[in-house]
Symmetry: C2
Subunit: 224 residues, 2 copies
């Protein structure tokens, strides 16, 4: 079956040239549409923007999660890179603060990404790999800032996803009417992170709990 005389040879992607072109248009359209409408944007709308039929879209990306993974791959890489870059800052505290602000800013610019960052897709290996990388570097970032005596000792790694969830709430509510509000939230949060922790904080979720929270399905966002 896999004889050497297949008429196929195609490009590296294994797709026919026109199909590969369509695939790229689909991913581009998905990026735009998710950014505008969030990751629950209608598939029809994405197909329309890409100038292809829905059938084509489904053939290439059978599930929404597949499409999301493809659409946010680049951004997730940038997300993971940000932690690495923050570690390069000689000032531990500034590195930490810049990192938090930068990630929150990434959320602010893209409705879809806002959600993707506070969510895990069991199917999307690529995204998960970047997430893991970001996690590892972030842990180092946190340790370093604590050792420098600038980050409160009881800061937990799980606080970062919590911040992102909080930021997501503010962004969802204010995106249209007061799109800069998130900056102020982040300002409060960072100041609260500064050592010394004045008061004890309620316990953070366990890593396992937070993982399960991130796994919550794509279902109708709030409620249901």
């Amino acid at each position: 079956m896999t004889s050497s005389s297949e008429p196929s040879g195609h490009g590296r992607s294994g797709l026919r040239a026109d199909a590969e072109r369509n695939r790229q248009r689909i991913v581009a359209a998905a990026r735009d549409t998710f950014a505008d409408l969030g990751i629950e944007a209608p598939m029809d709308e994405i197909a329309r923007r890409a100038g292809v039929g829905v059938g084509t879209l489904y053939r290439r990306y059978p599930t929404r999660a597949d499409l999301i993974a493809a659409a946010f791959e680049a951004k997730m890489t940038a997300y993971a890179d940000a932690a690495r870059e923050a570690l390069a800052d000689p000032d531990a505290w500034r590195g930490f603060c810049d990192y938090v602000q930068r990630i929150c800013a990434m959320q602010a610019g893209d409705r879809g990404f806002t959600t993707v960052l506070t969510m895990t897709f069991p199917t999307a290996r690529r995204l998960q790999a970047d997430r893991d990388r970001a996690y590892a570097d972030f842990t180092a970032l946190v340790e370093r800032a604590k050792n420098a005596g600038r980050l409160r000792a009881d800061f937990a790694t799980e606080d970062m996803p919590m911040f992102l969830m909080a930021n997501a709430g503010v962004l969802t509510a204010t995106a249209d009417a007061a799109p800069e509000t998130w900056r102020r939230l982040v300002g409060y949060l960072l100041q609260a992170c500064a050592a010394p922790g004045t008061e004890p904080l309620p316990a953070p979720p366990t890593p396992r709990q937070m993982y399960r929270a991130l796994l919550r399905s794509t279902r109708r966002q709030h409620d249901r």
Copy 2:
């Protein structure tokens, strides 16, 4: 036609006894359903839980906003009362902190209320009245805590709805897997509110902007 001999007389509500009974069952069912599923819960589900037909539900509450107003009237009153009670605390700072925690706890217990608190319904006069009352008392609470030198001077009234939006984000994401997480967020926020403000904060939204943000419609989450 409005002759004195109308067969009607009915109860104070102007409804026939059986109709009034049904109305109450509808409101009760709406409270439960909104708490479980959020304010976008299907009308059919509410009717089913109330044990009435959808027709009956629509006759009494023609729009979702009408039903929401009826369902959350009591809670909104409690919400407004909380500010008044916080003012009764002789300790200005403790009053402030207890208030914020209490309101956030109210959000935590009810998916629908979480949304209602960060949203305004132009149609719902009753809710708006309580919201206004809460606002006035909260303003006093803030002033008092600032004068006591315990609340940072640059705290803005608009920060409270912002906190509620942030809390809503955390609640939405963690409700199932880590339902206590919100407490930690509130812990961070309150510590950041304590005087002296270490650093300047990004500007808060203007009251007008925040008002418009609260007005965002009930529509499909991310508009369209």
